[in-house]
Amino acid sequence: MTAPAIRRQRVGRSVTSRAADSIVRRLISLNGWAAIVILAAIFLFLAVNARRALEEVGFWVMSLGTEWYPTIPTPRFGFLPLLSGSVLVTATALVLCVPVSLAAAIFISEFAGGRVKEVTKSIIEFMAAIPSVVYGLIGIAVVVPWVRATFDTDSGLTALSGAIVLAFMIAPTIVSISEDALHAVPNSLRQGSLALGNTRWETTYKVVVPSASSGILAAVMLGMGRAIGETMAVLMLTGNAAVIPDSLFDSVRTITGTIAAEMGNVVQGGLHQSVLFTLGLVLFSITFLINLVADLVLEKQRRRWQR
């Protein structure tokens, strides 16, 4: 009498749990599909709006053009000044930010004790929460005068000023993701290295950091994606001259800054607007690729420790 009862109960439970299981699984895969559909929709939306520019000006004429004069009677729509502005500001921000961020991540993960660790982590979380306009204001109040005084430039609104502030803005991303990667390195490896007569520092740079290298790379790439996509602070600080820069002390104009500054003043459905959509398409493709590669790298690292 009891045996069938137990069996029935067990079957009943497995039926409901299987149902719950399949609902959850369907929801998750629905999410995945939704993400893909949304991404495709954004791409399509941009492409449809960019169509006129692609037909009338041509992709390569825009991509390789060295002049950006969108409002003169025979306008020039060359992307290179804007692309080089974005690349210069982003690369400089990375050069300034990556060494310090890695040092911070290593400190937090490998050397800081409980209290210090908590405090540093919350400082970094706080940095991530500051709106980018506020970063822009701080940049205008502090960084721009400093650059003007130190490097003797006319206005202080230079690629360097934008890069310095951008470095602070992408630091939280790079620090927290590389800290995660360092944290994921199994403790048994640290123990193994210490037991072989290595100091903590030797253990860190010979075993822990190389073991986390793909995660650190992904962190840098995600930081780079953020830097390229950042608009407001850069618009406020770089002086907005759409000219291919000679040095860090020139004013530059980024892709994002251009879209933000000009979109409000264009004719609806006009060629200029369509060109701006093409710029958006280029930006979207760049950041999408960077994020995709970073995700693949992170996934590879995750699988590595599951052996």
């Binding site: 199994p186 123990q191 037991a195 010979k206 075993v207």
Partner: protein, 265 residues
């Protein structure tokens, strides 16, 4: 004759009244024992009786645990290893350790073994080649891997990985190798291979091994130390230590007999 041989042999531990506390918890207390050179000493006892704790005293890995505090006196070849002038980092090149789970570094087989010697400053390729070959031979892994030393260590089987870790520990030419349940995550064949390796290693180094496997202790050790923690309120103690053969046939303490024959909770 034997006298002078004894004097040249290194890797002798002397423990006097050793106790370890973690914060306010006294884990082990009053452990005194002699660990002879070129022999296998097995530490046995129920889970939580402080075997790993005692083992970590010998290469000062307890230093890495913030709350751990070691008291008493431990000498290696006559020198107090907790003395001020003793550098724990240097000590660990003399006292190697093999862990419960194989923990090869994510690099090639060659680089794993060369890791310790490189830290010690060996740079010459020929010298490194020699150390790598000798260490892998002593760990009984050479035959299986000599063709592809450039292979990633993660591609080896669990048993091979553990022997690689033994080779890695041997490469710094330690006097002592500590092993904390080195075969507990391995299949019977790999276990057999690791045991064979240990038996051969005795020739070069002193071995202190923690094991839960009574047959294993009986098979491979010369000396056995039985530890026991009678209740959580009091620290674990060393019940007895003696020649393995005697311990397993004619234990001096009732509790040892009960544990060895498996009549222990």
């Amino acid at each position: 004759m034997t006298e002078s041989r004894e004097q040249n042999v290194t890797g002798v531990f002397e423990l006097e009244n050793v106790s370890v506390t973690y914060g306010s918890e006294v884990a082990i207390a009053g452990v005194s024992m002699h660990i002879p050179p070129r022999a296998v000493t097995a530490l046995i006892g129920p889970s939580g009786c402080g075997k790993s704790t005692l083992l970590r005293c010998l290469n000062r890995m307890n230093d890495e645990i913030g709350s751990a505090k070691v008291r008493g006196r431990i000498t290696l070849d006559g020198a107090d290893i907790y003395a001020k002038e003793m550098d724990p980092v240097e000590l660990r090149t003399r006292v190697g350790q093999v862990f419960q789970k194989p923990n090869p570094f994510p690099m090639t087989i060659y680089d794993n073994v060369a890791y310790g010697p490189r830290t010690q400053g060996t740079r010459r390729r020929s010298e490194l080649d020699e150390v790598v070959e000798r260490s892998l031979k002593r760990a009984a892994l050479w035959g299986e891997v000599k063709k592809d030393l450039k292979k990633h260590a993660f591609e080896l089987s669990g048993g091979q990985q553990q022997r690689l870790c033994i080779a890695r520990a041997l490469a710094t030419q330690p006097e002592v190798v500590l092993m904390d349940e080195p075969a507990s995550s391995l299949d019977p064949i790999s276990t057999q291979q690791v045991e064979d390796t240990i038996a051969e290693l005795k020739e070069y180094v002193t071995i202190v091994i923690v094991t839960h496997n009574m047959q294993q202790a009986a098979r491979i050790s010369d000396l056995t130390a039985f530890m026991l923690r009678e209740s959580m309120e009091e620290p674990a103690q060393l019940v007895e230590v003696g020649e393995t053969r005697v311990m397993f046939t004619n234990p001096g303490d009732k509790r040892t007999e009960a544990y060895i024959t498996g009549r222990f909770g």
